[in-house]
């Protein structure tokens, strides 16, 4: 009656991953950030390079005053956001009079961050867009890229995942062209987190791994650890629990070395989830307790509540209702204001089950009712994510291609640059290298083109396959409709008309028995003969439409009847060989095979002037092979024009996933073969 398990942490973490790291750095690092700018967060990514510009000699003397104002405002952001905003506003107007465009852009950008932190998303978006305008005027790409990433963060918070990813990718494009590794690490991580959130796990892994590789190359251990946590989440969501454990073990070592409480909280909480999924509840409990320790150090209410939830869940699973109740009650209390929906839902559900088990049906019902309301809300959000994921998957096909091309270009450019040093070192070797590079570029271009062509043809093949499937579906519907109609007609003819004709014949027979005077009448005899002919004709038509034996006794008997009828009405000898055990999984297949053979034989009777026909059905491994061969006049297959019957044959074989082979030569008879997949015989 109540769903068994919920894994609260996963959603929660993916949802807020990008921002949680932000929170950590803003809280811990902000005081030092004036001097140690490198510690700035993802959301405040944008702060990073603009601050560096202070040191730029190009800065006007007046600009130092502006910079001090900006720094002061940044320091005020958390404690007194309104004052910070006021200062930024002042800088904006000030920097108009002293032409210091970058400062104006920065003020816009930072205002956006303050708005965003305060939850005023529309104002934040307006500020960011304004900042992009200003940065464009100044030709300051770093600023534009930062604004894009921040816009991505806002859209992500607004659950506009498609837009978020588009903005992130815009930012990434700029940072990639600037070769800005430090910011790329976080931009990649953010895209990875959103993609994971909308269940595009393959793509998420690509970006998270990019972030990981970059972090490693520049020795950014915490960036590396972030990426690992994200990758671990993808593994959890795709149920690759061993991989998740491995990556968290590795991440844990790094996080411990740096004693990073937030990462340690995330790692241990997710480990708890992994073990909970594996039903190792003791271990799940121990990691959940560790995560609580770090959550308390961080004093983050969402984390604390999540950790309580994980502990409560573990106690619940271990069959310790009292402890479970204690922790889950804490969750409900803690979460009420902090909106971690998943944890809250888990808590409500577990409480309902605990109360139910304790016999407090009414209390349980109360929890369930609250749960139901939240569940509907949650389902809506989930659906939105799935749809966003599908849209992204579709949209990013093209974008991925563009991005990978850009990357390849960049790599090539870098390769050329690197090789240039050799050019200086020696003309000869340079020549060789240049030739080599060009050869390489040409080769890689050729390969690229080839791959693109293959991709295109693959896509085309996919489309064709889809179209074909549709065609097959239509065909199946058509043929089945036709068969049904034939069946109905055959029954009407046989039962209705046939029955009446039989009764008529009987009555006429009675007249003959009782009124001897009719006996000599030629008209009377002719009338009787006509009734006979009519019933034979009705039977023949009915039989052709749908032989009763096919439905009643199966393909073999029906084919036997059919061949016998052909022999009786023509001078053709038919050799029919059907294995006794032949049995189709689907009666519709039998009907189709019957119709194909019927049509093939009818063709031979009508056109081939043959005296012998061989009909063979053989089951070889997983295929049913059918051959219809005659010794008639033959024809040139190349000049053959499909009539209605032949088209119907091809359609049915097509439907059965077979392929028709026609062999014939003038005056050498003809042979028709097709093989269709069937269930392998035991």
């Amino acid at each position: 009656m109540i769903k068994s398990e919920r894994y609260t942490e996963i959603n929660k973490l993916i949802n807020f991953k990008g921002f949680e790291r932000n929170q950590r750095t803003t809280k811990a690092m902000r005081p030092k950030s004036l001097s140690a700018i490198t510690c700035l967060c993802i959301l405040h990514l944008c702060l990073y390079t603009p601050h560096l510009s202070i040191a730029q000699p190009s800065a006007a003397p007046d600009s130092s005053a502006v910079n001090s104002m900006l720094d002061a405002a940044t320091a005020l952001e958390i404690e007194n956001p309104d004052s910070a905003l006021a200062i930024y506003q002042e800088v904006i107007s000030l920097s108009k009079s002293i032409p210091y465009i970058v400062a104006r852009g920065r003020s816009r950008l930072y205002s956006g961050i303050v708005h965003s932190d305060q939850g005023r998303y529309d104002e934040a978006i307006a500020s960011y867009l304004k900042s992009i305008e200003v940065f464009e005027e100044a030709g300051y790409d770093e600023g534009i890229g930062s604004a894009f990433v921040n816009l991505g963060n806002i859209e992500n918070r607004k659950a506009q995942y498609g837009k978020a990813i588009a903005y992130y990718l815009d930012g990434i494009r700029i940072f990639e062209s600037l070769g800005d590794t430090a910011r790329l690490i976080y931009a990649y991580a953010n895209v990875g987190a959103v993609l994971s959130d909308v269940q595009q796990f393959d793509k998420s892994l690509i970006y998270s791994k990019k972030s990981m590789a970059l972090s490693r190359s520049v020795g950014d251990s915490l960036g590396l650890c972030d990426a690992m946590v994200n990758i671990g989440l993808v593994y959890i969501r795709t149920n690759q629990l061993d991989s998740a454990k491995a990556i968290y073990d590795a991440a844990s070592q790094i996080a411990q070395a740096y004693n990073d409480a937030q990462l340690l909280y995330l790692i241990n909480n997710n480990r708890s989830t992994v073990f909970s999924k594996e039903e190792q509840h003791e271990k799940a409990l121990s990691y959940a307790k560790k995560s609580l320790k770090y959550a308390e150090i961080l004093n983050n209410p969402v984390y604390v509540s999540n950790a309580h939830g994980a502990i409560g869940q573990a106690y619940y699973n271990l069959g310790n209702p009292d402890s479970a109740k204690y922790y889950i009650a804490m969750v409900l209390q803690l979460v009420e204001n902090d909106g971690s929906v998943e944890t809250y839902m888990m808590g409500l559900e577990k409480m309902a089950m605990l109360e139910d088990a304790a016999g407090n049906a009414e209390a349980a019902l109360g929890y369930l009712k609250r749960l139901k309301i939240l569940e509907e809300e949650d389902a809506r959000l989930r659906q939105k994510k799935v749809i966003a994921g599908l849209e992204i998957a579709y949209e990013s096909e093209k974008k991925d291609l563009a991005i990978s091309e850009k990357n390849a270009e960049l790599e090539r450019n870098q390769a050329i640059l690197a090789k240039r040093n050799y050019l200086i070192a020696g003309l000869l070797s340079a020549l060789v290298f240049t030739i080599l590079i060009f050869a390489l570029i040409r080769r890689s271009l050729r390969q690229k083109r080839k791959i693109a062509e293959q991709d295109a043809s693959l896509n085309k093949a996919k489309l064709i396959k889809l179209a074909k499937q549709k065609e097959v579906d239509n065909l199946r519907a058509m043929l089945e409709g036709e068969d049904k109609e034939r069946s109905r007609l055959a029954k009407d003819l046989h039962d209705g008309l046939g029955g009446m004709l039989s009764a008529t014949k009987l009555r006429f027979s009675n007249i003959q028995l009782r009124h001897r005077e009719f006996n000599g009448s030629a008209d009377y005899a002719e009338a009787l003969a006509l009734i006979d002919k009519t019933s034979v004709e009705a039977r023949r038509i009915s039989h052709n439409l749908m032989p009763g034996a096919l439905e009643k006794f199966g393909l073999k008997e029906a084919l036997n009847d059919f061949c016998q009828n052909i022999e009786a009405s023509s001078s053709i000898a038919i050799s029919l060989q059907v294995p006794d055990i032949l049995k189709m999984d689907d009666p519709r297949s039998e009907r189709n095979i019957y119709r194909i053979i019927q049509e093939l034989i009818n063709n031979v009777v009508k056109h081939a002037d043959a005296t012998e026909i061989i009909v063979q059905l053989m089951q070889i491994d997983s295929h049913l092979h059918t051959t219809v061969e005659d010794n008639g006049t033959g024809f040139n297959p190349v000049e053959m024009v499909d009539g209605l019957g032949m088209r119907s044959i091809r359609s049915r074989i097509n439907l059965l996933k077979g392929n028709l082979i026609i062999e014939s030569n003038i005056s050498e008879g003809s042979s028709f073969q097709f093989a269709i997949p069937v269930n392998e015989r035991k």
């Binding site: 046989h494 039962d495 046939g498 029955g499 009446m500 004709l501 039989s502 009764a503 014949k505 009987l506 009555r507 027979s509 009675n510 003959q512 028995l513 009782r514 009734i531 006979d532 019933s535 034979v536 039977r539 039989h543 032989p547 009763g548 034996a549 009643k552 006794f553 008997e557 029906a558 036997n560 009847d561 061949c563 016998q564 009828n565 022999e567 009786a568 038919i574 050799s575 029919l576 060989q577 059907v578 061989i614 063979q616 053989m618 070889i620 092979h625 051959t627 061969e629 010794n631 082979i661 062999e663 030569n665 008879g669 042979s671 073969q673 093989a675």
Partner: protein, 211 residues
């Protein structure tokens, strides 16, 4: 003279009435009753006796073939004549296997029907002319099919070329067919001759005098 009791099972009332009116005029035959379906017939026969039962094959729910078996199991001394508009070997064979002593088509003449009833009541069998032909051609024709499908003319051509060590490609070119078609023929030949590979194929073909 002992009269022959007839019971009729046919889902067409028109046909039943026609039969009754036809049989009424015969002195040695009387109709004990009729049913429009198999279930009613079995119920009636539990308490009533009939020497000959005329059974239509095409009945709603339980068909005439099953009914025939059921009647004969419960009343071994009765005789069943199938009265059907099916003249296919499959239906005739099934009825005969089910124990029917006679098989008539529904466009039978009154004289033939009466002859059949008398013959069957006398312990003989009666099949109309058409049905006899069907049974005969079935037992002579495909009824006696061999277990292994025979090798077709086209397959023989391919077999001959294989034994002459032609490659698949050569055979395809010689016979103006695709290599895939040659492979299909080879597969059929392996299956029919019970060979595992081409070498086995050639060996068995020689043993059996096929080439």
């Amino acid at each position: 003279m002992k009269k022959i009791g007839i019971y009729i099972v046919d889902d067409h009332e028109m046909v039943v009435n026609g039969l009754i009116s036809m049989l009424d005029s015969e002195a040695d035959i009387y109709v004990v009753g009729f049913a429009l379906n198999a279930e009613d017939a079995l119920f009636f026969l539990k308490n009533n006796r009939a020497e000959v039962i005329l059974v239509d094959i095409n009945l709603p729910k339980m068909d005439g073939i099953s009914l025939c078996k059921e009647i004969l199991q419960q009343h071994p001394h009765t005789s069943v004549i199938a009265l059907s508009s099916f003249d296919d070997a499959s239906f005739v064979k099934q009825m005969v296997r089910g124990g029917a002593k006679g098989y008539l088509l529904k466009n039978t003449s009154g004289a033939e029907l009466i002859s059949a009833i008398r013959a069957v009541a006398n312990g003989d069998e009666f099949f109309s002319e058409t049905i006899r032909k069907v049974l005969l051609s079935d037992s002579f024709g495909r009824g006696q099919q061999s277990f292994i499908p025979k090798i077709t003319r086209r397959e023989k051509e391919v077999l001959l070329l294989i034994t002459e060590e032609y490659t698949t490609k050569d055979i395809a070119e010689k016979l103006f067919i695709s290599t895939a078609t040659v492979e299909t023929h080879r597969l059929h030949l392996l299956h029919k001759l019970g060979a595992k590979n081409t070498a086995g194929l050639v060996k068995i073909a020689i043993q059996k005098g096929l080439i």
